[in-house]
Amino acid sequence: MVGGGIVVAVALPGCAFKGPHPIEVTDAGFVPNAFLQITPDNHVTFYCPSDEMGQGIRTGLATIVGEELDVNPATMLVKAAGSHEDYNNPEFRVQGTGGSNAVRVFYEPLRQVGADTRALLLNAASLDLGIPADQLLTADGFIVAGDRRYPYGDFVETASSLEMPIATELKAPSRFKYIGADAPRVDALAKATGTANFGIDADVPGMVYAVVVRPPVAGSKALSFDDSTARVAPGVLAVVPVSSGVAVVAERYWQANQAAKKLTIDWEETPLSTVTSEQVRQDLSAALEADNDTESTRAGDPEKAFADADAGTILETDYYAPFLAHAPMEPLNATLRITEDGADLWTGVQFVGAAQGVLERLTGLPRGNIKIHNQFLGGGFGRRATLSHIVEVAEIALSVDKPVQLLWSREDDLRHGFYRPAAMMKIKAAADSEGHITAWQARRSGANISAQTFKNALPGVLPNLPTGLLNGLAGAMDYVFKNWAVDGSSVEGLHETYSLPSYQVSHASVDHGLPTTFWRSVGHSYTSFAVESMMDELAEAKQLDPVALRLKNLNDKPRMQNVVAEAGQLMAAMTVPENHHLGFAAHSSFGTDVAQIAEVSVTEGQIRVHKVTCVVDCGLAVNPDIVTAQLEGAVMFALTAALYGSIDLEGGAVVQSNFHNYPILRMNESPAVDVVIIESETPPTGIGEPGVPPLAPAVANAVYRATGQRLRDLPLQLA
């Protein structure tokens, strides 16, 4: 029942947590486990193990624990959990948030936490009141005995001396009163009043401010630098070489920002220094032409199936997607205070466990003495699972011996990021005359996503591994992914959505050295564009309706078949103005099935998306309004990428620098979004990412209907 690493039934005072526990006991509060505190005056605090970056996880997980505890989540105080292995993500085995997995992996463990704690309170009430537990009920934070109600808080003292029940029976979904109901976000008030604390808002007495000047070409080192004018600029306290560049430390942020411009730095040339976007594209094409991919997965006998197909009807087409930046609204930052026996870090990360590990490695302090105060994240999208800013702030703080706040600028963010890698995809497909796909081959070339992400994470995940071994391990991983094995993230989504009797998926690694990492929906963000464009191309070749073609190829995917059928009916019933056109796409990712219909017009070469209708099956929707919001947001995020998104290289350096040349969709360009959630009682699946993948192909398919131009490159630009 209980996921790995989740501590459900310990933490009575005196019980053995492995390190000093971050929960601060307040007002004689009772801490029955790592997730809850209940005070005698009946205030319930929930310590949320997942990082809130907008996806609504504090509300979602509070709802899940509150359901079984029988406390309205809206009345709980919900706090970010501190850094401790009790809060490890059960699937990652380290404290972190990503992969749209939080609601899925905490659904049962946190219900169990709530149910066991409620049972404990019933036992305590039974003793105190002298009434058998089976004659007591609960109602929203109260024990009910006949017509009398007693706050949970009345029984916490007794509860603290009792043993925690285990494996208490969970509610049947039909009895849920909070799960499945719309409820306000627990963070809405703070975020509407400017009182929500983000990493950037940390303010530690005596802190100084730092900025880092990094190389224009990723990974290049400073050969020499001249800081003679920067060092004497107003407010400047120190100029510090760090592993990623040169840091300027000043009394105020603006002083550091201004002084940094006075540094002259001579950077080394690296292999990346001559790379251009055109070359990346050519190299990715050449890699597919070379035809020596590594196979990822196969089924049936695709070679025979292609040989059996009428050669004239086989389609083979290339699709391309460029590098992309995450551009969360809050630029990266971190505030670190190191004292003789401990360290405190205020930041917003998706990878608390690894941030703690980085500090353990760099400061030499015992892990338990390093506290991560994770704040609200001003957007994550994968960007905040990286750790380079944590390394930087540690190096600076160790050097200046004062609390330091490090802040990246928007230019730093766009030019020195970890990017969604560019991808060239070649899809080859054969279908019979009725539209059943008989053979499918999907190949992708580009940089591996996981190899680089792991390399970045390793120093924090394995804090005690010596640097030499660490570099060896990172190099080995890189080699394995380039030569022997396929990184699943790089090819995910190339075949999984459909029932394919025979298929082959393969990969050619081409890595120019630009750092890459997970970007909202990861590999699916580009594979869906290729697969779902091809599905419309196949439908046209077979003179079939695009929805009908998809339905013919979903025989062993009943959930997606239902989503596509539902969306197809909505699409068939839509009436749109004469110059508007509809495009369809569907994609499975993170356990969730999504179909989207884009209503598009094209005027003088400008693509305008008026409305997007989404049909989603994500299992039981814990908070349907937040599910809806995630799909609305995913549509905007994906439309930004589909219409504008491109990180380009010139001389190895990123060209884009701020929102004037890396535009983000604005309100006046944003479509209406309709969301239909399929009713379900099956356990919840992901929702933060699955709304992204189908959008670009849905728009491209609509643009084809509007103009007859089949756009196979992202971003979508008409000839």
Partner: protein, 163 residues
């Protein structure tokens, strides 16, 4: 020395007059509700009111605020005394990550103060300088329109009462 009014209180600043107002408010006066997003006046996360007009303060030298009234999100309303837009924001569950929302609300508040019954087009025009990377636009717009609609119905009731 530069003096101005900050959320109704007179304040003075002795530092570099070219410092952007945003950093003076955040680092010197320690009001952290206004955010840094781009440093180039392109995203609106830093929006405050200067004599009632919405303005991007990451590119506005503090000297430009001399003898003027600066209002930040903290001065617009607070958890105990919400501005109608803040109430609407909560009712519509607008925020996701929330980082841009102070700026969004300040831009919207200037619009509503200027045009209490703003149209859909007015909202698009007034809000197009504020980026939301989470894509909360449909809800931001719905929240503003709900406040504008109540102004509209208030106007209508007043007109009827006067006629």
């Amino acid at each position: 020395m530069i003096t101005f009014s900050l959320n109704g209180e007179p304040v003075r600043f002795n530092g570099d007059p070219s410092t952007p107002l945003l950093w003076v408010i955040r680092d010197d006066f320690k009001l952290k509700g206004s955010k840094f997003g781009c440093g180039a006046g392109l995203c609106g996360a830093c929006t405050m009111h200067l004599d009632g007009t919405a303005i991007k303060t990451c590119v506005l030298p503090v000297a430009a605020a001399a003898d003027k009234a600066v209002t930040t999100i903290e001065g617009l309303g607070n958890p105990e005394d919400l501005h109608p837009l803040q109430t609407a924001w909560i009712e519509h569950n607008v925020p996701q990550c929330g980082y841009c929302q102070s700026g969004q609300i300040m831009a919207a508040a200037a619009l509503i103060a200027d045009k209490p019954s703003a149209s859909s087009e007015d909202v698009d025009n007034a809000m197009s300088g504020n980026i939301c990377r989470c894509g909360c636009y449909p809800r931001i717009k719905a929240a503003i329109m709900s406040v504008a609609a109540s102004a509209l119905s208030y106007d209508a009731a007043a007109t009827e009462a006067n006629s």
